[in-house]
Symmetry: C3
Subunit: 264 residues, 3 copies
């Protein structure tokens, strides 16, 4: 339906620097994943330098998976600097809904920083948007309300592209809706695959102005790579390795061929 | 001698949420290891949220491998909240004996929090219990005093099940003694295998009330998986991957078949 | 030209404890890498214990990849304790030149601690030495001035052995120059290979007094292992695993056979 592979080609050609402020569980995996994609990762957390660092980058990724007050203050500084410099900010509200502190911090970041792309699972997005939902730890719980409606509501509320990932991924800017149906359940057996996806959304956002389409392209690519890896590896240790390989090996042509995208 | 495989079956069925406050070296490996076991990992460190998070969990794992004052304060908050909610707390005093700060912090945690399972190597447990021993960094040194006696003494002193791991693992509640002899020396070639074991002890403790037997079952399972992995991989990079795979693939039947357990 | 393999033999025999204060992205990889080499890693960051810990170690490695004020203060304490105890200090100024904070912090550490070995890429070393150069994030930019001159200048300025890594590695104490030409471009596809190299330089420095020769030996070994791994793995996920295996498997004889070393 749309030529999504070209986004991957451009990411690999331009190798955008992505500034990640992410959690301590996934830093290594995110850095290696971005390298495998063909982007350039940098991690920097100190309030003394994040504004300087983000100005060198093409995208900023904020992830509250192991948040603390010091890091949140630095995220706000980096986010505002990114906003001033017109650098897209991707926000991954890991575990929002699990504790009041996470939910409130997520809302604070959304209030003080203009977020270009908000990515989470259904329960995280619902809890931020004020829907009644309960999460178990940082994994997805059940969302009662209709997923697309929640995504649209959040997009309008936060004036952001919203990406709700799950078996099918929903992408919306509040008006348009696109569903991406690539991926594999093995992704849930390796920690940080959601966090890495948020950083990959950053890499793709860094090379273009259409956050909606860059997100769709990133999701299709990521899912196609996961499908490729799952053909080679059925157990979690091997899958993690195969997935990093697949992120490197998946071609633009394969993305175009295997992408399952519905919508506008 | 005892039906230990059934514990693994229950862990996989119930997928207990394990709240880990562990060190920055091993977070990724611990999260992936718990996923491979079939449990649900969560990491959270902020004093603002740890009490809320631990109440969602079935076990709390405290690990001082890269301790600092901020994290220790949060560990005490989480530990006390776990005690109030009757959630088992597993404590891994990484490197106790190596520096005064670690030894004192380990004792402080044991004083202020009721620990269900204390797991360490011989030198860590001995140093906490006041035996004369010298550790080299965070690895095991030589322990002069008899290992079982030290374990029993620590168990009575801290009113905890004590697990001393090494070539043979000692499990005691101060009266009963069980020796588990599974495992492989390759475990010493990969960082965090002790830390992950502590978190696996947490997963098993989370589904039952008998900390002694859940620990024996976890040790047997972990050791059998290591033996399985060591058959496939003789070098450290490959072993780490094979071990994650083996944690996923090892069946309850294999645990029952290959467990080497002596004692009551 | 020189018998470099013997250094590896000694590292494996003595298994020096290396105290690493490194960044959150690479801690796991560095620990596993040092184990694969045959050394003993320890990570400790708290100001309360770093002086005690470093006195147990044979080398201290400081790495500012994800620096913050708390860690920098602790690095200074550890560095001074190492100096007093005559323990070599290796410094990796990750990202110096990318932000003012990094450059200034790197200079501060070099001012307050006697560094035995300073290792960085060309742009990092040039920016610390006051050369005009621009880095993109933490990766190497273009260096206008002649690389060997910059390395020599830095060595004299900081009274340190300086190792500038790239396609060819330059080692100098300000007078002697040695060029090591082993390695493979796959090293740039895995995060933390520079950080791990700094820690391996620490392991080799820990067993001898000639920082110049221990560095040459470490570089040759590391590069030969990378070449070996690159023969088995052409994609980043697999390369990371193969490289850890190769660090374990590479023999002293292979280092002597394949080392490409020029200079005095």
């Amino acid at each position: 339906m749309m030529n999504v592979g070209q986004w991957l080609t451009r990411v690999r050609k331009e190798s955008p620097l992505v500034h990640n402020m992410t959690n301590v569980v996934v830093t290594n995996f995110v850095a290696n994943g971005l390298l495998a994609v063909g982007a350039s990762p940098v991690m920097a957390y100190a309030k003394e330098e994040v504004a300087d660092m983000v100005r060198l980058a093409r995208a900023l990724v904020l992830n509250i998976g192991t948040l603390n007050e010091t890091d949140v203050e630095a995220m706000l500084i980096a986010g505002k600097a990114a906003n001033e410099a017109n650098i897209p900010v991707i926000f991954d509200p890991v575990g929002a809904g699990a504790t009041a502190y996470r939910t409130e911090t997520a809302r604070r970041i959304l209030r003080e920083v203009n977020i270009s792309i908000l990515r989470g699972n259904a329960s995280e997005i619902a809890s931020i948007a004020g829907e009644q939902v309960r999460t178990k730890g940082v994994d997805a719980g059940d969302v009662q309300s209709d997923l697309v409606d929640v995504a649209k509501k959040a997009a309008l509320m936060f004036r952001s592209v919203v990406v709700v990932t799950g078996k099918d991924d929903v992408v919306t800017d509040g008006e348009r809706i696109v569903i991406v149906s690539n991926g594999d359940a093995m992704l849930t057996k390796v920690t940080g695959t959601g966090c890495l996806l948020s950083s990959v959304l950053g890499a793709f956002a860094g090379i273009g102005d259409d956050m909606m389409m860059s997100s769709v392209a990133a999701l299709a690519y990521y899912g196609v790579a996961a499908e490729k890896a799952a053909k080679q590896a059925k157990v979690p240790g091997s899958f993690q390795l195969s997935f990093l390989n697949a992120l490197h090996e998946t071609s633009a042509e394969e993305v175009d061929q295997y992408a399952r995208i519905q919508g506008e």
